[in-house]
Subunit: 386 residues, 2 copies
């Protein structure tokens, strides 16, 4: 298997981008990544997108977007695993380069969510749950994660305040990220007093509806070294994927994210790393409770310790294990198909020392974890600066 | 790059399967393929599906279906390139095994199209065209392919009767395929007198709306040999993909399928084969004119010779170059996400000598070509018995 490196990144600002259609958002990120990589052609394009069909009435994105970039002819593939679609696009690009089928791949993610109204967006997102066993009965994702939060609180004593710390931390990080949807200082009291969405989750526990696109360029380590010159290069050391039951009710343990755990174990094994080797992490904080479950499933904290660790500042910038330095889905925004690619961008920039005000000191190994539904699919990638 | 073999296949009957939900259709094909392969586990699952979101209100199929098979935990990926989604699933599985990321992959395709009414199915299929530049203006796929047919007729003198020969041949082949949607002898007069859909295309020039699923198991050549024992094994020698503009109007040549041509050239180059080396072919005959354009784009006939070659019987069973021995999309049916995988199944069975009444004598190299939209994306795979 060939080693694979990241050589360039690009993304749009994340937000409610009413004026910009999907194809233009995507092209902006793609062109920035190609320019940042310093290349002029790619062998293949992967596109993570959850539901352009339901959000914008357009499938067949791969060809549409290759053409938008002036690259009609180039092979292109759309992949989907709900909100893990971006992570899946990274995996698909990684497999192409690792196999030798392609030398250089443009890996992208995009979602245009504000072309439909709130109810239709909720319906579209709800198709990531089991439509027959969950959706038809009226439960939406805030409801599913609220149940997960309740179990975590009952089982481990996780508190409402600990959940709030996730939002406070991620909004503090997002203040330092010019691409973030919200530049907004949030306090514990703000979270505790925000509008109730699904008890115990309030508005500030929830990631928003977002438009945006993100792109990275993957290539062989040899080509990456030739392009990077004196700059360090970033290699993908491990790629792990896993699934779980989509229906939350079918899980043996309601608040253990088994797909995240399995994907993490697979990525660690491939990378030859342990959780203690990781310096900076992006996890899928679609809801505050999700971040706590993810940092536990990835082995950074024992089960039940995710809440206390967050409240104590361990996962903050400057803490022992900075999590979601980008602002996470909570503050940076969550254009669902783009999120997994944007996470890879944050880790790449951190490892190259390009993190700006949110740089983690001496970070040279990082991890990005993306998931779909209530954790029914997950991808984990481990990156290392070499 | 590791060599990759096909070791088992399974499919549902294709048709209007009102009683069977998507997940059950898929599981039937998957279990048959696993059983046929003689294995008991896989490392990864790929799923080609065009639009379960619009057809059934369910995205996130990868996790849903892995769980349906009792395989929650196993990595799974859905891929989409409109009606080329099945071919893309083959490519994605091929990349996984070729790279060494996975040893054994279950490659599947599925579409459940009859859960919505005809207008909604037409809308869903229309999202494979450019929604802003084609769909919003009212054109549907029969209309797009009708324009392509008109240009081909004007340019090359292709006749209405030659188009009819495609349907007559494919229905004759479908009579020999127990999995086909239609077992129906069709004459030239039947086609010429069928209901007009979009001039010059009539009802019997068009592939139907279909439910169905198909699956193949891919693995390393070493494992395939160990499992096959004395039976011949079938290796994927070449995998080619390409895109074209989605909007028909943007193409320099309205009746040349450039994505098919490029994907074919890439697959031939990788396989070290020429068109003359191929013994049996499945192409994407979503409309009669599509088959004619595809056999030209793949280099089997000069441009403009596809119609005469078909009318002369060259592409019939027993002809010099049998095309769509399965019955093609026309007679076998076209569950859009499953089609590309079902094509691979037909080629596999032909190369193993398991073609039954429709066996092509001495076939040991075959080709499967799948495409999306009006040819805006295409995959081509070359298979060889060794």
């Amino acid at each position: 298997m060939r080693d694979v490196a990241v050589i360039g990144t690009g993304m749009t600002p994340f937000g409610e981008l009413w004026e910009t259609p999907l194809r233009s958002l995507w092209a902006e990120a793609a062109i920035k990544a190609i320019d940042n990589a310093g290349i002029d052609s790619v062998d293949l394009i992967t596109i993570g997108c959850m539901s352009s069909g339901l959000f914008t009435g357009q499938e067949h994105l791969a060809s549409l977007l290759a053409d938008e970039l002036g690259m009609a002819g180039v092979p292109a593939a759309r992949v989907e695993s709900a909100c893990a679609s971006g992570g899946l696009a990274v995996r698909a690009g990684f497999a192409e380069v690792a196999s030798g089928l392609s030398d250089t791949v443009l890996v992208t993610g995009v979602e245009k969510m504000t072309d439909v109204d709130g109810a239709d967006a909720t319906y579209a997102l709800g198709t990531a749950a089991d439509s027959e066993w969950e959706g038809f009965h009226g439960v939406t994702f805030p409801g599913l994660y609220a149940m997960l939060a309740r179990v975590h609180m009952e089982r481990f004593g996780t508190t409402r305040e600990q959940l709030a710390h996730v939002a406070v931390k991620n909004h503090a990080n997002g203040l330092l990220n010019p691409h973030a949807q919200y530049h907004l200082k949030v306090t514990i009291d703000d979270v505790l007093n925000a509008t109730m969405v699904a008890d115990p989750l309030r508005l500030l526990d929830c990631s928003p509806v977002t438009d945006g696109a993100a792109a990275v360029v993957l290539t062989t380590v040899e080509r990456a070294r030739a392009i990077a010159g004196d700059r360090p290069i970033v290699v993908i050391r491990g790629s792990g994927m896993a699934t779980d039951t989509v229906t939350l009710a079918n899980r043996a343990d309601l608040c253990e994210l088994n797909a995240v755990k399995l994907a993490g174990e697979r990525a660690y094994a491939m990378a030859g790393k342990r959780p203690a080797d990781i310096h900076v992490v992006e996890v899928h904080d679609c809801f505050s409770i999700a971040e706590i479950c993810c940092i536990e499933a990835l082995g950074f904290y024992e089960r039940g310790q995710g809440g206390p660790a967050t409240a104590s500042g361990c996962t903050s910038l400057g803490g022992a294990m900075p999590v979601n330095t980008s602002g996470g889905l909570k503050s940076k925004g969550h254009p669902v198909g783009a999120t997994g690619v944007a996470q890879a961008i944050e880790i790449f920039r951190q490892l190259r020392g390009e993190g700006g005000e949110r740089q983690v000191k001496d970070a040279h190994v990082g991890l990005a974890q993306n998931m779909g539904g209530s954790g029914a699919s997950s991808t984990v990638h481990v990156f290392e600066r070499v």
